[in-house]
Amino acid sequence: MTTSLRARAGTAGFLLPALVVVAVFYLVPNLLNFALAFTDWSAYKDTIAFTGLANFRELLQEGALSTGLRVTVIYAVVVMIAQNLAGLLLAFALEKPSRVHAFFRAMFFLPVLISPLAAGYVFKALLADDGPLNRAAGIEVSWLGSTTWTIVVVALVNAWKFMGVNMLVYIAGLNAIPGELLESARTDGASRWRTIRSIQLPLLAPAITFNFVTTLIGAFNTFDIVFAMTNGGPGDSTQVLNMFIQQQYAQGYYGYSISMGLLLLLLVCAVAFPLLLTLRRREVDA
C-alpha cells in the first residue's frame, strides 16, 4: 500500500514540471480564447465586458473574415503543394547516401536555418521592381505588386524556406523501404517510374502524412515571411489571418483580434484533425 502510494507520488512528481507549464502557458491561453473573444477588451477602456457575438458580427460585416480566410487558405494550399513537391523531387534525387548527395542535401537544407523574417527581407530585395532579379534577367515583372499573384510568390518563398525539412523526412521515408522490395521490382523489369508509383510512393505514406499535416498547419499560422515581404499588401491581398490579428491588436482592439484568433484556432483544428485521420486511414489501407 505504502509503496504504491509512493510510486504514485513519484509518478506525479515526474509529470508535474511538464504538465504545469503546458497547462499554464499553453492550455490556459487557449481556453482564454473562448472567454475573451466574446468581450470588448481594448486599449481604450479599464474594464472588460462580455459583448456576446458582437466581435464576430463585426468580423463578418467588415469583410475581414472572408478576406482573411480566402488569403490564408490560398496561401496554405500553395505552400502545401509547392513545399511537398519540391521536397519529394529533391528526396528522389538525393535519396541514396553519398558524399555528393550529402553536399546537396546540406545546400537545400540551408534555408531552414535562416529566420523566416530574414528570408522575407532577402526576397523582398531580390524581387523588387528595380531589384537584382528583374535587372539581371532584363524583365519587368512586378512580383510584389500584384493583388492576384503576390500571395503565390510569398507562398513560394515559404516553400523555399522550409522545403529542406520535407526533403529530409521523405529521404528518411525512402530509406526505410526494405531493399528487397526494390530489388525484386528491378528483377521483374519494372521501370523507374513504375517502381516509384507502385512501391515507393505508397510506402511513403507515413512521411506524406507527416509532411502534409505539418506543412499545412505551419502555413495557416504564417506571419514572419508575409510581414517582412509585403506587410499584407498590395491592398489587403496578402493579409493572412495572423497579419490581421497583429494589426487589430496593434490598433488596441484586443478582444476583436482574439475573436479572429479563435477562428484561426478552429480552422486549424477543423482542417488538421480530419486530414490527419484520413491520411492515417489511407496509410493503413496501403
Binding site: A23, L31, A35, I48, E62, G233, G235, Q246, Q251
Partner: protein
C-alpha cells in the same frame, strides 16, 4: 483528467473576470525639472521619420546636462508597432510621434501621460498648435517643436508655369504636361502612405464647410458624396494616365528623385519633404525650380495636420521624470534655436527666428497657415482605419471609390464606438 480540465476552466474564468490588466491608474503632478542629470539615461521612443534637428537637440541636451539620451526608433506603421509594445506595459521617458487625436486616445493619456496644459511653453506655441497638437478632451499632452505639416502640391516651375489651384485646373494641367512628355503626377503606391495625401487635399473644402465637425459628431458619414468625389477624382486621374506608370509599386524615395530630376511635374506632399530637398539639391536650386501651391477641389485651401510632438509618459520613476521634464524645458528654451536652425524650419514657438535657409516654397506653405481662411486642420476625433491599404486597393482596382468610403466609415464607427465617443 476531468478534474484537471475543470480547474483549468475555473482558473480561466477567474482570470477573465479580473479587470483590464493593461490599465494603470496613477495621478502625479508634473515633476520639477531636475538640474543635475549626470548618470541619468532617458529612453526616447520616436518615429523613424524624424529629421536631423532632433539628433542635434539630443546631443546639445547631453552636453548641457550630462544626461544620456537613448533613442528607440519605431518603424512604419509606427502606430501599430508602437502600440504593440505599449501594450506590453513598457513606457519610455519621452516619446516623439505624430499626435493625432485618435492616436492619443489609444494611449489613454489621462492615465499614462503628463498633462502639459499649464506649462509656459504651451502658451508660446505658434500656428494654433496649443489647440491642435497632442490635444485630447481639451488637455494638451505634447510639446510641438515643428510647425504643422501642410499638404499641398509641389510643382516644377519649368514644367508648370501656372500651378493649378483646384481640381478642374489640376486635370487640365495634367493633360498639358502629358503632351509635353513629362509625368504629370507621381505617387508611391509601393510605400502606400503617400497615397492618402491627395484625397486629404481634395476633401478639405468639404471638411472646412462643416463635414469634419459633422463626422466627429456622427451627424455625417464617410460615405458622404464629398468624400466619394475626392476618391473618384483620384481614380479618374489614374485612368487619365496622370500618374507615374509604376504607381502601384513606386516609392517615396523615387518620388523625390524623379521630381528633383525634372521628370515629374507635380507631387502632392507634406511640408516634411522640404528638408529632404534642401539636403539633396540645396535652397538656391529649390527656389529656382520648385513651387508650392495649396489646392482642394474648388479652392486653393491647404489641409494641414499637426506633426510630431514630444510627450512625457508617467513612468513612476521620479528621477527619470524630473530628467524628462528638464528635457522639455531645454528643448523649448535654451536648445530650441539651434534645433530650428538645423531643421531649417520655421520655429513653432514664439521668440525665435526663422533660419534664412527655409526655401520659398516652404515659406509659402506656412504663409497659407497664417493667413485667414486659406487652410484647415485635419482634426478627426476617431480613427478611419488603414486608409493607405484602402487606397492601395483603389489603385489596384480591387475596390471602388464607394467601397473605400464604406471601409472608412466602418473603421471610423468601430474606432469611435470602442473609444466611447459621444454620439456613436
Amino acid at each position: 483528467m476531468k478534474r484537471t480540465l475543470l480547474s483549468l476552466l475555473l482558473a480561466t474564468t477567474l482570470l477573465a473576470s479580473c479587470g483590464n490588466p493593461m490599465a494603470k491608474t496613477e495621478s502625479q503632478s508634473f515633476p520639477q525639472a531636475a538640474t543635475d542629470l549626470n548618470g541619468v539615461t532617458l529612453t526616447v521612443w520616436q518615429s523613424n521619420t524624424l529629421q536631423a534637428g532632433y539628433k542635434s537637440l539630443f546631443a546639445d541636451f547631453e552636453k548641457a546636462t550630462g544626461a544620456k539620451i537613448r533613442p528607440e526608433i519605431f518603424p512604419d506603421p509606427y502606430e501599430s508597432n508602437l502600440l504593440t509594445k505599449w501594450a506590453t506595459g513598457t513606457r519610455p521617458d519621452l516619446m516623439i510621434f505624430q499626435s493625432t487625436a485618435s492616436f492619443m486616445r489609444r494611449l489613454d493619456p489621462a492615465k499614462n501621460l503628463y498633462d502639459l496644459t499649464g506649462q509656459d511653453f504651451v502658451a508660446k506655441q505658434r500656428f494654433g498648435l496649443a489647440k491642435t497638437a497632442a490635444v485630447l478632451d481639451g488637455k494638451n499632452y505634447g510639446l510641438s517643436l515643428e510647425p504643422p505639416s501642410v499638404f499641398g502640391l509641389w510643382y516644377n516651375k519649368q514644367l508648370v508655369p501656372k500651378p493649378p489651384t483646384n481640381l478642374t485646373e489640376l486635370v487640365s494641367t495634367c493633360k498639358t504636361i502629358k503632351r509635353s512628355g513629362a509625368t504629370p503626377l507621381y505617387d508611391a503606391g509601393g510605400d502606400q502612405w503617400t497615397t492618402q495625401i491627395l484625397p486629404f487635399m481634395l476633401w478639405t473644402d468639404a471638411m472646412k464647410a462643416g463635414l469634419q465637425d459633422k463626422l466627429n459628431d456622427n451627424q455625417a458619414q464617410w460615405t458622404d458624396p464629398a468624400v466619394v468625389d475626392a476618391l473618384k477624382a483620384y481614380k479618374s486621374l489614374v485612368t487619365e494616365g496622370c500618374f507615374n506608370s509604376n504607381l502601384k509599386t513606386g516609392t517615396y524615395a523615387e518620388q523625390q528623385e524623379k521630381f528633383v530630376a525634372g521628370q515629374v511635374a507635380m507631387i502632392p506632399q507634406g511640408t516634411w519633404i522640404s528638408s529632404d530637398f534642401v539636403k539633396s539639391v540645396g535652397v538656391a536650386t529649390m527656389n529656382q525650380n520648385m513651387g508650392w501651391q495649396a489646392l482642394s477641389t474648388t479652392s486653393p485651401t491647404a489641409a494641414y495636420s499637426t506633426t510630431f510632438s514630444v510627450q512625457m509618459p508617467r513612468t513612476g520613476n521620479a528621477k527619470q521624470e524630473q530628467a524628462a521634464a528638464a528635457f522639455l524645458k531645454f528643448a523649448s528654451g535654451a536648445g530650441y534655436q539651434h534645433f530650428v536652425d538645423v531643421q531649417k524650419q520655421a520655429p513653432a514657438l514664439t521668440g525665435f527666428t526663422t533660419p534664412s535657409e527655409v526655401p520659398a516654397a516652404t515659406q509659402a506653405a506656412y504663409a497659407a497657415l497664417e493667413s485667414d481662411g486659406t487652410s484647415y486642420p485635419q482634426l478627426f476625433a476617431a480613427d478611419f482605419g488603414p486608409f493607405p491599404t484602402y487606397m492601395s486597393k483603389l489603385i489596384n482596382g480591387s475596390s471602388t471609390p464607394e467601397q473605400v468610403a464604406a471601409d472608412l466609415q466602418a473603421a471610423w464607427a468601430k474606432s469611435a464606438k470602442t473609444a466611447g465617443l459621444t454620439g456613436f
